[in-house]
């Protein structure tokens, strides 16, 4: 009896809090049928927003993976003064408000920022332009690769690496052939989290973007302008697309686990 009550209450909470929102997204997008929904995706500003989002995600993943791997190597293979400070620093963006994550770049590169005017005179636009959007997204997504790699690489220790070193391998060889193959599942997971966050980032990007349709609007920003312009179907269609993109990145993280399970069953 008590168990049934628990089940009913739990599923009621899940249905109201967690199931209804995605249902609303799809229902609102398909309010007038699937044709009009798909039609809204042909809007050139929308297409530009999709491209910009993809570009920003690729840049964020590339840079933060490269530096994230090197930082994880540094933080797990050596013990040096200042290591604990670095461990805190690389996680810091996770606890900073998205809006603040955008603001800091305006303080540096905005019209009233430290270097904004100098760069502007040199013809380099950062604030209210694509480079600003890149910087804000890079900041927000910085922690994900490092923080998924560090616990695993720490656990692996450095015996394998030391053996490879004694066998004559250099730094890149050890990293590429010994460390990363062992950490590939964690790396994969970190890359996907970076992707999902980069695609969906709203607050930080909103502050530095300037909201120029077709030029500096990413998908989340375009969703905002469509919604505020009462283009509900278009807004929710774009929202469905973005949600599917971000959530499939998050869900893909379980693929390695499924593969191992499937292999165990086969064996």
């Amino acid at each position: 009896m008590k168990t049934y009550l628990l089940w009913v209450v739990s599923w009621a909470v899940i249905a109201i809090v967690l199931l209804m929102p995605p249902a609303v997204v799809v229902t609102e997008a398909l309010k007038n049928g699937i044709g009009p929904a798909l039609e809204t995706l042909k809007d050139p500003d929308g297409i530009a927003a999709i491209w910009l989002t993809l570009e920003v995600s690729v840049v964020s993943v590339a840079l933060n993976t490269l530096f994230g791997v090197l930082a994880a190597w540094l933080l797990t293979k050596y013990r040096f003064p200042g290591r604990s400070v670095l461990l805190v620093l690389v996680e810091l963006p996770l606890s900073i408000s998205p809006v603040v994550s955008g603001l800091v770049w305006l303080l540096l590169f905005g019209a009233q920022g430290w270097w904004g005017q100098a760069l502007e005179q040199a013809g380099i636009h950062v604030a209210f332009a694509v480079p600003g959007i890149m910087l804000a997204t890079l900041f927000v997504t910085l922690p994900y690769v490092v923080r998924t790699l560090v616990p695993l690489m720490e656990q692996q220790g450095r015996d394998a690496e030391e053996a490879a070193m004694l066998a004559g391998a250099g730094f890149w060889q050890i990293l590429w052939r010994v460390t990363l193959p062992g950490a590939r599942v964690a790396l994969f997971s970190g890359v996907l989290l970076t992707t999902a966050r980069a695609m969906g980032e709203f607050g930080a990007v909103s502050v530095v973007s300037g909201h120029i349709p077709g030029l500096t609007e990413t998908m989340p920003l375009h969703i905002e302008s469509l919604y505020n312009g009462y283009q509900t179907v278009a807004a929710f269609t774009m929202a469905t697309l973005l949600a599917v993109m971000a959530m499939s990145a998050v869900l893909l993280r379980s693929v390695p686990e499924w593969i191992t399970r499937w292999r165990e069953k086969q064996a």
């Binding site: 628990l6 599923w11 967690l18 929102p21 620093l89 607050g203 905002e224 929202a239």
Partner: protein, 283 residues
Amino acid sequence: MKQTFLTFLRGGESALPGYRLSLAATLVWTGFFIILPLCALAIRPWQDGMGAVVGALHDTRMFAALWTSFSCAAMAALFNIPLGLILAWALVRGELPGRRFADALIDLPLALPTAVSGITLATLYGPQGWLGAPLAKLGIVVAYSRPGIVLALMFVGLPFVVRTVEPVLKNLPRDLEEAAVLLGARPWQVVIRVVLAPLVPALITGFGLAFARGVGEYGSVIFIAGNQPFRSEIAPLLVVVRLQEFDYPGATAIALVLLLTSLAALALVGLVRRKFSAWGDAA
């Protein structure tokens, strides 16, 4: 001092190659992307003179916005404690039907882009929404006011509570409860003394994480909040407003308060974890 510097240069006892390269890369990366922005945040408000700082402290709209953010985030985190506890219990102990599906759904608020959550919650709880319309008939207005902010923050904060309580609940030996019953404890005594007491550190942790996230949350809140100054304007939105007015010191002042608050909340979480780690696997 010299010794410390030398270990720093050599990378301790590890003989693995690549220390200086990875150190240089990491210092450049964190230096440009973390230390530099934080320095700008800490230094910029003072550059326009003390007048600007004093002016920012007289800004009543700022205090109203900060209060809205803090109180709504605290309320949302508080409401999430019983909800998160029920869900964690159902997932770990309750043998909930559809457990794997439910488990995957718990992380949905973290995976859903905040702008999508924002317009969705505004529609769901809006005057014509699936939940907003019935509530409006009962005379309860949610959207475009403070309850809307709390609801949106509950949505984004719920996974933090469930996910911190879950592992502790898993590690809690069932024998303890049986032993308590055998020793003559009443059911409510078992619940409070044997089950809830060891969960307290995890609950505080969940509360702290949800609060820290809620204070700075922007995208999922602004569409449902109404954004009226002094009433339903959250602090992150006021940062944006100040920036649009080119009031950089004003924006930075609010940003600093937000940053310090979430850091304080997370420091508290760390403290609780360390203090109770003697109890076993507290979170």
